[in-house]
């Protein structure tokens, strides 16, 4: 009897009350969101309509760009540059990426443990998280230039600056992976008398090791791209520096094309290698 009545109640509810209630009521946050979108679109339209491009011949600009692209990518060639030279350059760049990821990973592992809410003191974790967020907010290239003040432009500044940024990135990624582990598992081991280091190495790291690996490999790929840029911008040698010389010093578009292809090929090889290694490591763990 009771059940039948309640079913009848549900039926009435659906027929008259639900009809004109919106699914997402207009509250403060959705109102703010709409206002922001409106302002942004007005600004965009205004900027586009008042932009000053009368000195640029658009037709010519487009055709020039296309022809430059054509020389760059369809006729790659270099007369100063041999394959072993280019290979050496890429190896130097990769060394830069490897070194910074390795340093960054080791430091970030410990900082990540301290920054995980479920492992350490909440205050310490929050301080580290804020600090690391600050470092991350500044782009890698700026850190390299800041460290160049003391270390001088070159590979030393690039290694320190890129490590700095890698540490902050990986600390966030690692600590979030650690936080994935249920508090109750840690409780269980604490109840059996295990201490903090034992819990970290016997439960926390084994449960999050695949996340740690994929974040580290991702950071390695980012660092490879960064290392190319550092070579050009901070004089950290490697293929990036060759690219900078070819474009900014010799104005040799064909060489730029060749180097770009070389970097692309290497990045793809790296990507497939890291995917392969990740797969193999996962199978073993």
């Amino acid at each position: 009897m009771q059940i039948e009545e309640s079913i009848k109640g549900w039926g009435q509810l659906s027929s008259d009350e639900i009809a004109d209630t919106p699914v997402r009521p207009l509250n403060r946050s959705s109102f703010a969101m709409r206002i922001i979108l409106l302002i942004l679109s007005v600004l965009t339209i205004y900027a586009l309509s008042t932009i000053d491009y009368n000195s640029v011949d658009i037709k010519k600009a487009v055709s020039d760009t296309l022809s430059n692209f054509k020389t760059m990518f369809l006729q790659p060639y270099s007369h100063r540059f041999s394959l072993p030279d280019a290979f050496y350059g890429v190896v130097v760049t990769m060394g830069l990426a490897f070194l910074t990821t390795l340093f960054g990973g080791i430091i970030a592992l410990f900082l990540g443990l301290l920054a995980a809410q479920n492992l350490g003191l909440k205050q310490v974790a929050n301080i580290i998280k804020v600090f690391v967020a600050f470092i991350r907010a500044v782009p890698t290239i700026l850190w390299v230039l800041i460290f160049a003040v003391s270390a001088g432009l070159g590979s030393a500044a690039a290694v320190i600056g890129m490590t700095f940024h890698s540490v902050s990135y990986l600390t966030k990624a690692y600590s979030e992976s650690f936080e994935d582990l249920d508090r109750s598992v840690i409780e269980a081991l604490m109840a059996s008398g295990a201490n903090w280091w034992q819990i970290v190495f016997q439960a926390v790291i084994p449960s999050s090791v695949t996340y740690l690996l994929s974040w580290t490999f991702l950071r390695f790929e980012i660092n490879f791209a960064n290392a190319v840029a550092m070579g050009a911008a901070a004089g950290a040698a490697g293929i990036g520096f060759d690219l900078f010389m070819a474009s900014g010093f010799y104005f040799d578009l064909r060489e730029v094309g060749l180097i770009t292809y070389f970097i692309l090929a290497f990045a793809m090889a790296l990507e497939s290698l890291s995917t392969n290694m990740k797969g193999r490591l996962r199978k073993r763990i």
């Binding site: 598992v185 059996s192 295990a194």
Partner: protein, 261 residues
């Protein structure tokens, strides 16, 4: 002689809410004690106060001749090795194998470095294998814990507690997430461990009929107070009403089994 004694134990989370008020009882060595009561009555808090996973606000807890609340960090660790704990959600490291999880029970006895590196002696491994075999898990020794069923996981939980060589095991709703079949297996194992090895058991339960069937003694808790403490035979329907605050006719409790036996 009493292995465990609680004297006027009180626990307040803040000035407003009291989880435990003035709880006193003692448990003999080898006794199988069930703690029953509605959700939020303080059963879990009481269990966790015993091995100081939660600090008490007042009163004393004596275990095996020492005052639990006065222990320093090192002695507390030593005390916890003597008390095993089993959980509703098993709390195993899912990515590790059964044997690795069971050996975690030995961590409390090891130096930090040996524990970090996971170096266990031949003797410890042998004991772990014996316990796993005793619990009927020898086919799953090397399977990962996320591949096990709930009942099997709980047996790994029991093995992890047993490998500690505990004097007492605290069970926090060990069968609340299990089907009746697995529940029976787990409760039988707990009972066997208690009678066969002389290990004291304190088991939080939701099922009154299970408590009636397996325990030597039942403690009823409501709103942080002990409202019943006696043998299963003394737990009449009126007493159940005191504990749960409703007519036992309304509860899904089968008292028939006890009357039949």
């Amino acid at each position: 002689m009493a292995l465990l004694e609680l004297r006027n134990v009180t626990k307040c989370y803040n000035s407003a809410s009291t989880a435990l008020s003035d709880v006193s009882f003692s448990v003999r060595e080898g006794e199988f004690v069930s703690v029953i009561g509605p959700s939020g009555a303080g059963k879990s808090t009481m269990l966790r106060c015993i091995n100081r996973m939660i600090e008490v606000t007042g009163g004393e807890i004596y275990f095996d001749g020492v005052i639990v609340s006065k222990l320093n960090k090192r002695d507390l660790r030593k005390l916890r090795t003597k008390i095993g704990m089993i959980f509703q959600h098993y709390n195993l490291v899912d990515r590790l194998t059964v044997i690795e999880n069971v050996l975690h029970g030995r961590l409390g006895y090891k130096s930090t470095l040996a524990g970090v590196l996971g170096r266990y002696s031949q003797e410890e491994k042998g004991q772990a294998f014996r316990i796993i075999k005793f619990l009927g898990l020898n086919e799953q020794v090397y399977s990962r814990c996320d591949q096990l069923s709930g009942g099997q996981k709980q047996r790994v939980g029991i093995a992890r507690a047993l490998v500690q060589n505990p004097k007492m095991i605290l069970c926090d709703e060990p069968i609340a997430s299990l089907d009746p079949n697995a529940s029976k297996i787990i409760m039988d194992h707990l009972r066997n461990v208690s009678t066969g090895m002389g290990i004291t058991m304190i088991v939080n339960l939701h099922q009154v009929n299970v408590a009636l069937k397996y325990s030597d003694r039942i403690i009823g808790v409501n709103k942080g107070k002990v409202v019943f403490d006696g043998s299963p035979a003394e737990l009449t329907p009126e007493r159940i009403y005191d504990i749960y605050g409703s007519e036992s006719g309304d509860l899904i409790v089968d008292l028939g089994e006890r009357n039949a036996s």
